[in-house]
């Protein structure tokens, strides 16, 4: 399996995109779109919608590239954040659709982590993974389910069959614990 270019190369491309460089945009798309499409597919569970959200994310990336600040985030983090936000917005729009199809649930299945995209991401990922491991198992699963499904507190509580207040406190406690662990 080959690796996408490193984070610095992506950041340079994104800075070029902010100047309206269409070739840099095409290059950035080639390097990062498979990564982002994976995120869309995972969250939306629907190819058609995933394609639409991916398209929306990239057109927004082109228009908003000037707001990218390399000192605050890596290009891939910026792109992933933008894409996830679009995917979550889409999930909120389809609120009326049933979300409790058991085949859609990951809650009991911890998917095999795939190798990290590059050395830097791998390091960040390993730190995060180590910190997640320190959480109480049910809380860890709730955080993971929340992250990968983009579900609201309400939906998570229903899926996990716990009171809303319990779900909120699990996740809030986990987030604070993660911050302490990651910032240490």
């Amino acid at each position: 399996m080959s690796n996408p270019p490193n984070g610095e190369a992506l950041s340079r491309l994104l800075v070029q995109v902010a100047k309206g460089d269409e070739h840099a945009f095409a290059e950035l798309y080639r390097c990062a779109s498979a990564h982002l499409f994976g995120v869309c597919l995972r969250m939306l569970r629907d190819r058609g919608e995933a394609e639409e959200v991916l398209q929306d994310a990239w057109t927004t990336a082109w228009r908003r590239a000037a707001s990218f600040d390399a000192s605050k985030a890596s290009a891939i983090t910026w792109l992933v954040a933008l894409t996830r936000n679009k995917a979550i917005d889409r999930l909120r729009q389809r609120r009326e659709r049933p979300m409790d199809d058991p085949s859609m649930l990951d809650f009991l299945v911890d998917p095999e982590p795939t190798p990290a995209a590059d050395a830097q991401a791998s390091q960040d990922y390993q730190r995060l993974h180590a910190c997640l491991e320190q959480l109480e198992p049910r809380q860890r699963r709730s955080v993971r389910e929340a992250f990968f499904s983009g579900a609201t507190y309400n939906d998570l509580a229903v899926r996990c069959q716990v009171p809303l207040g319990t779900m909120k406190s699990w996740i809030r406690r986990s987030l604070m614990q993660l911050r302490t662990c990651l910032d240490a």
Binding site: S2, P4, R84, T114
Partner: protein, 264 residues
């Protein structure tokens, strides 16, 4: 665990926003704050840096080539030439996609050429079954070719290559039908929107292929129509034409593939 209570609740909201558990209204409120306040933007960016590495667990998946074309169209960008990507960029997959894209374009050209030939008086009455290959540009309501189909009569199979299919609604899947003149549609098989599909043509299907028959794509439940007849809307259809007579097989199509394969 003892950090639960003494943290500023506001920071927690930004963490919840990044994690993705807030409802639409709460998300919108955070997004307004991000725009209004650099401090909030920084807090959110910090949470993104903490949590987003988790996406490394998600397997990458190449989007269909038409997504890029739609992005380009939407932004009104010039057709950026398909530069050879640097070696680090998954050469296999990328070249593969380009390969299929060109294959689709080639097949469209062949299909269009066939239709032109069919309109010529001498051609329109010529018997088709002598041709080794048939082709069809399965065209959508907007006039764009959604798929191209090439039928190999000798081998008894059909390759359906997506060109620019529309996005398919949730819970629906495209199914291909052969409609003989004056007859009921016959199911050929489910087809993909992001990759070529190869379908087997049995004898009864082969016997019905001809210039008067039509290929059509309808939207069905993912496993296919439960009734054996189309139950959803027809989203694309195409006439069936012979391949160019001079060579007896679709020149453009097979001309492209060996060269493209070298890159794979």
């Amino acid at each position: 665990m003892n950090t639960t209570t003494d943290d500023a609740p506001s920071d927690l909201r930004y963490a919840e926003y990044v994690l993705g558990v807030l409802d639409a209204d709460a998300r919108a409120a955070v997004e307004r704050e991000v725009i209004a306040s650099d401090a909030v933007a920084l807090t959110v960016a910090l949470w993104q840096r903490r949590l987003l590495p988790l996406v490394d667990e998600i397997a990458a998946s190449e989007p269909p080539a038409y997504v890029w074309e739609r992005i380009r169209d939407q932004l009104g960008l010039a057709a950026v030439p398909a530069r050879t990507p640097p070696a680090v960029v998954r050469p296999g997959l990328w070249e593969n996609l380009r390969f299929w894209h060109w294959l689709a374009l080639g097949a469209s050209a062949v299909a269009v050429a066939c239709l032109v030939l069919l309109m010529l008086p001498s051609r329109s009455v010529a018997p088709l079954p002598s041709a080794a290959y048939l082709a069809s540009a399965i065209t959508q309501d907007n006039g764009q070719v959604g798929w191209t189909a090439t039928m190999d009569l000798a081998q008894g199979h059909m390759v359906v290559v997506p060109a620019k299919p529309h996005a398919i609604a949730t819970g629906r899947a495209p199914e291909l039908w052969l409609i003989p003149p004056g007859g009921r549609p016959i199911a050929v098989g489910m087809i993909a929107t992001g990759a070529p599909t190869t379908l087997t043509l049995d004898r009864s299907l082969l016997a019905r292929l001809g210039p008067a028959a039509v290929l059509a794509v309808s939207l069905e439940p993912p496993g296919g129509s439960p009734t054996g007849q189309p139950t959803g809307p027809v989203i694309a259809k195409g006439a069936i034409g012979a391949s160019p007579p001079a060579s007896g097989k679709p020149v453009a199509l097979w001309h492209v593939s060996p060269a493209a394969r070298d890159h794979v």
